[in-house]
Structure formats: C-alpha cells, structure tokens
Symmetry: C2
Subunit: 208 residues, 2 copies
C-alpha cells in the first residue's frame, strides 16, 4: 500500500502529517498561511487542486515550502500523487516537523482515501451553515480535529457552534475542536501548539 | 439514455428544468426557499443530499412540493435517481413550470453528469472567495447561469465580482450572471423572471 509507505516515511523522519479536508472556500489555504507564519520552516505544505498553482503560490509567498499537485479533474488526492510529492520534496535532506496536505475542496470524495497521513482535519466555516455535519457524515466520522473557521464572522452569521460539536460527537468519539479565525489569528497559536505536540508524541513513540 | 428520457418528459410537459450545483453551504437551499416564496405552485424541487431529509423539509415548510434523494455516500446525483423522483412526483397530474434539482454539495463531481436538465446553474458565494472559477473550471464551463450569492455580505468580504465574471467568461461564452442575496431578496425577482422566460421559450419552441 502506497499510503502505508508514505506513513512509514513520515514516521521514520518524525514528521506529523495531516490531511486537510473541507468544501471549497472554507479557508484551508488561509489557515495554512496563518500556520506558516508561526511554524515557519517546521511546516511543509502539499497543495491539491483540480487546476491552477494558485494555492501553492500563496503559501510560497509566506516563505514556507509548498508543492502543488494538480489533479486535472480528479475530485480528491490519492496516495500515489502524495508519494511523488514527497519524493520531489526530499524531506530527508530538508527536514520539517509538520506536513500539511491540503486536499481538493470537496467534502465528499476525499474522506475515503488514505494518503498516509496521521490525522484527518476537517474545516467547517461559519458561512457554510451549522447543518452540515449530518449531511456529510463520512468525513466528520473520520477526523481527529474539527476546525470551525471564519469565527470573525460570528456577528453576521446565525451559526450554532454547540449544535455542530454535538452532531460531530454523535458520529465520532475522538476529535478535538478549535474555533479559529485566520483573519484575526484567534486560536491559531493553540492549534499550532496542538500540532507540535502531535509531532513530539510521534517522536516519543518512535524512541520508546 | 435516461437523461434524455427525463428531458423528453420535461419538454412534453412544458417544464423548464435546472440542475443547481455548488459547494456545500453556498446557499442552494436558501435560494430555493426564496424562489418558492415567489414561484409558489409553479416550482417543484428535487433535493439531492448524501444523507438526511433536512433540505426537503426546509422546502416543504414554504408550501412548495419537494422530493428528497439521499445518495448514501454518492458524491453527485444521476439521471436514474432523478427519473425515479419524477415518477413519484407524477408531474402529468400535478403540473408545474419549473423543476429545480439541487445536486449534492460538491463543485467537482456533479459537473460531468447529465440529469436531463435544460440548464446547469452554479452558485458561488462571497465567503468562498473570488479565486474559485479557474480552480474548478469543469462546472463553470458548462453553466447557463452563474449566481453570485450572499451579496448581503459585501461589506464584510474582499471579493472581486468583476474578476469572477471575467474568469468565467474566459471559459464559457454563453452564461448570464445574477448577483443575489436570498436573505435580502436582492435580484431574486429578476432570477425568477429569467426562469419563467426560459419556460415560456420552451413552450414557444414546442408549439412552433
């Protein structure tokens, strides 16, 4: 399995890898720009898009390493394209602590494909509405983190955060929630701390 | 082809059918609630969702007829499930002028499946960002209408409407744009007029 080989590479290098999944426009790339500002050289981003290099270019502008995969119509990333990216990124020679794989904007198809990540992270933005968890259960059942994004829009939105967290808990016994705004920076530091702890835990497990 | 049979049924009954496609949370159901308030018994809605009857229930509350298709994991509607819906709706005995088929929230997969509609209509909401057209070209190449939604959020968003329309025009020579807000009603009447004209044109074609 190529996904398993990807995960073995991450484990060998002590890198925590997350697969970031959401609808188009939930703020995946904005989140990664915010994370890049804090994690700097510790973060490497693999961008998945149907078409264009727009997202990788945005990440590169922060000074962070980024690699663009264009699926050319494909509705999700697969482990093989990530394996190619990892080969080109030469992480053995250019180490990092976190690899963030931004999947194609799609709340349905990416949920069932293992890329070799340690954790799936889903974003749900306030403007998408608080009814989405049970309408798209496949992804929310599999996540380790739920990021409720665009929290700066709270005054303009009718969005029940508690409902969302409760509905997610009805599907999934083991996930953390962060209510973030990439615009104001709200809870971005806390999410970075969480990611660095995941990386430390991975390295502790490896040594023990 | 089942899609062709669906279209033949719409043509026979003089019903204009549209296939509504967007990301999750772009405001498809809110738009249909607003249309239902104006078009009333002239509108019938077929709702597609991965899971839950939530959207059909919202439409039914307006007094409008609605039929829910649950794809149970499927990332798009297909012509066969729409044919089943049409059979159950008995449109011969219960006529209408417009059938709106709300596809699964997904900007990638639904674009390549013909359901038997006369026109594909895509929604792009302000919070999704103005960079989406060239990132998801497959759908924007095929639409007859681009609805820019949640226009009430203009003061809070950095969204270049002209860029979106220009990028869409670079892919597609024949589409209309409506800048709407289902919340304030902005340009909803104009879009209803457009739909009723499509229906009239269909019936003129049929008689001539």
């Amino acid at each position: 399995m190529i996904a398993t080989q990807n995960r073995q590479l991450f484990d060998k290098l002590g890198i925590f890898a997350m697969n970031i999944i959401s609808s188009p426009g939930s703020g995946k790339t904005s989140l990664l720009e915010a994370l890049a500002g804090i994690l700097k050289e510790h973060l490497v981003v693999i961008e998945g898009d149907v078409q264009t290099r727009r997202d990788a270019e945005r990440i590169e502008k922060t000074g962070c390493r980024a690699y663009q995969i264009e699926t050319n119509g494909g509705c999700h990333l697969d482990a093989e394209s990530v394996a190619h990216a990892l080969k080109d990124l030469k992480l053995e020679q250019n180490p990092c602590k976190i690899v963030a794989i931004e999947n194609v904007g799609n709340l349905v198809c990416p949920s069932s494909f293992d890329l070799g990540e340690h954790m799936k992270v889903a974003l749900l933005s306030l403007p998408e509405g608080d009814d989405k968890i049970l309408k798209y259960p496949s992804i929310f059942r599999r996540i380790g983190v739920l990021l409720i994004t665009k929290m700066d829009l709270v005054p303009h939105m009718d969005f029940d955060v508690d409902r969302v967290v409760q509905e997610c808990a009805s599907l999934n016994e083991n996930f953390e929630t962060f209510k973030v705004s990439s615009k104001t920076g709200e809870y971005i530091n806390e999410f970075c701390d969480f990611l660095m702890k995941q990386c430390s835990a991975l390295n502790t497990d490896r040594r023990s």
